[in-house]
Subunit: 475 residues, 2 copies
Amino acid sequence: MSGSREKEIYRNELAGRQQVIKNEGLPVIVILEGWSASGKGSALGSIIKFMDPRFFRVYNMDVISEEEKRYPFLYRHAVRMPMKGQFSFFDGSMMDEVTYGYLTGELDRKEYDRRVESIIHYERSLRDNGYLVVKFFLEVSEKEQKKRIDKLLESKNTRWRVNKKDLWQNEHYKKCKKVYEEYLKRTDSEICPWHRIKADDRDQVEAIIANTIIAEIDKAVRNPYKPAVPENPYPLVKMPKLAKIKLKGKTLTDAEYRKQLKKLQKELADLHNRIYRKKIPVIIAYEGWDAAGKGGNIKRVAAALDPRGYEVFPIASPSAEEKNRHFLWRFYNRLPKTGHIAIFDRTWYGRVMVERLEGYCSENDWKRAYNEINEFEKDLTDWGAIVIKFWVQIDKDTQLERFTLRQNTPEKQWKITEEDWRNREKWDLYEKAVNEMIAKTSTEFAPWFVLESNDKKYARIKALEIIIEEIKKRL
Amino acid sequence: MSGSREKEIYRNELAGRQQVIKNEGLPVIVILEGWSASGKGSALGSIIKFMDPRFFRVYNMDVISEEEKRYPFLYRHAVRMPMKGQFSFFDGSMMDEVTYGYLTGELDRKEYDRRVESIIHYERSLRDNGYLVVKFFLEVSEKEQKKRIDKLLESKNTRWRVNKKDLWQNEHYKKCKKVYEEYLKRTDSEICPWHRIKADDRDQVEAIIANTIIAEIDKAVRNPYKPAVPENPYPLVKMPKLAKIKLKGKTLTDAEYRKQLKKLQKELADLHNRIYRKKIPVIIAYEGWDAAGKGGNIKRVAAALDPRGYEVFPIASPSAEEKNRHFLWRFYNRLPKTGHIAIFDRTWYGRVMVERLEGYCSENDWKRAYNEINEFEKDLTDWGAIVIKFWVQIDKDTQLERFTLRQNTPEKQWKITEEDWRNREKWDLYEKAVNEMIAKTSTEFAPWFVLESNDKKYARIKALEIIIEEIKKRL
């Protein structure tokens, strides 16, 4: 079989697999890593030539923008994950980014190790959530790399393609190789294995990449992967069950409330200024019963903040774009920049509450989610974020009172829907889910705080106090 | 009436208006411009304190990121427009940006004038599309400004809030004033008037802003604004009606096609390299009959391009987020960066085709849209973009053949839907709409090109030739 005939075959097959992944709703991430001048870009270029450009995206991850630097390092990769049925091709990705950071000394060993761990978790979490991740590492020898770089430097039409990093890499080939080998070993796993390609023969590279992608898709379609539910590896804070939380007596007089509110809002305003200048990101997550008073609570916190430095995200059911991606994708897209505050009115915990109870995800999905969420929050705190999670607690009678009041007050009727009444019927199921959630995700780095909200004033003051305390700890 | 009692009233009223705009589906843009140290930020801060933070966003537009610099100047403002029923507050906006650019000499007079014109069009287009735009300009005297800046400089807690721009402005107060006055005059209109506020008394500022917003909302709700359909001011290229376009004989042999395709793709690949280095953005828009061959045409163009430098956007019906904003919003969000190519498979012209014919917008909406689109494309070309618009033309018999083939070929059945057949029944109505669209939007800066596609090969070669020619003109 001649080379060009072979080429035609795999190109057609790959184009055909686009239809397959579309029909199967399979999202595919192809990661091309490798040495500079190993031909990643051109191999990628020829592979996609025969694919339908409406159903894939190619990302060159080489340059990290100033904007991106203000987010966790995984952010720029995570926001680019494909929808179900589509491809994302990464020309250089997380490996290139963190190994280069480590090699140049920008990342110390501890931070580097932490990031490698995050990458391992992240890739596993993608795979567990239905993504096919196909990783390639293209190798060239020191000599061959030098030859290729020199060739590019010869002509002014190609010279611009050689950058400082490429030259640096060739000069420090052995040092790089050691780091790469270690990285490849650590991040190699059965579910996200590395495909290593000797990249000296360019035509071979294209054929191997294409045929590997085809084979991996077929394998994923034939044997849908069944993820395990991992054990939680993080130290947890022991939390009481909801039923044990004392609500009675947790009240404030109007006078006391107004006095405290004023004092605490002023204090928080000051702290907001300081975290802004110190570039510390803050994430405040609100969950709680319907009518528990989340909205009013958030309002009192937000009122203390400089409007240029915070955002409030009300989280409703996901859009089609969001539904067709990893459940954390929409939260990656709403992270605060360094120095900013993001307040979430409902959160990623929807996965283990409403999605669990309404059957929007499988049992395996929500059982895995505790760990996936802990990893996500670990990454956030490692990045430097202060993560504060509130459970706004009321009892069942108080909810009924508030529902009834809403129903009977014309200006408040919009706040109450049929769905609220339906959810109320499932109070016990929710309570069980919430107890499990709080028990399993109260990590030391991101514990839950319960706000007793039968008296909303009490809950507001307590929220402000906790936020202030948590920020102070970090200043 | 005491000041604090008055304050309580307008704060409550403003909070109540959030419910009003939500019920009415009215999107509100509040723009705060003014002198440095005129107290924009703090006035804004106190106004929003009593609003529900889930339904507004505050944007400080002071710093233009490196990323944003790679888009048209309106981009960063347009992508922040609110959804129906929500507020966007801009602390400093387009005025601050362009006047400062002009004052520092970064923008020459011609470019400055062009941008002011764009702003006038943009604000009118927002208003015409249902947005309420409330603009404030806060004034302080030279002396008062100096006093305030000096006060901020005194303490290390406030010193960081004074930047070079503030100092520069005070040093060049008279020069700035002249430019501001001229700008305010040019951009003042009945539908987007300026509210000028003497900002010496801070409490007064807050009250005036709040009461003005309340009054403007009430006015907008009571007297819904009926926009006029403006005359097209741009020079047009005369175009033939679809019925006059000769399709017969526009064919290529397989051999000729393959030869041409190879040659042209190579040429385009070269040009892509050059526009990338010269940072010229390119926008290629495809419209055409169902089954005219848009997808295959795009594929041949994309195959010539470096995957790191282009994106293909298939445009389907808008998401909820998109539907609730100006119809051009989703296209602002998909513009290419400088040096990149964006290919649109269906475009903003949906407004004057499917939205018109299916009644998704009002008659006034689609009639205005010709002009709104021309302005949008004018801004794009002023920015430096090459805008290429293709109408892919086939006759009705050819469509029937292709529909039938799709229906009868299992691998192609997904490409044909009931909707395609329904659209086909409306061929004559569509033809009329397309003729009108092409006649009214073939501006000299962004004309339509017709691709005769009864023979798809012919259309692909012609598309490549046109793209190459248009790019060459600009190199």
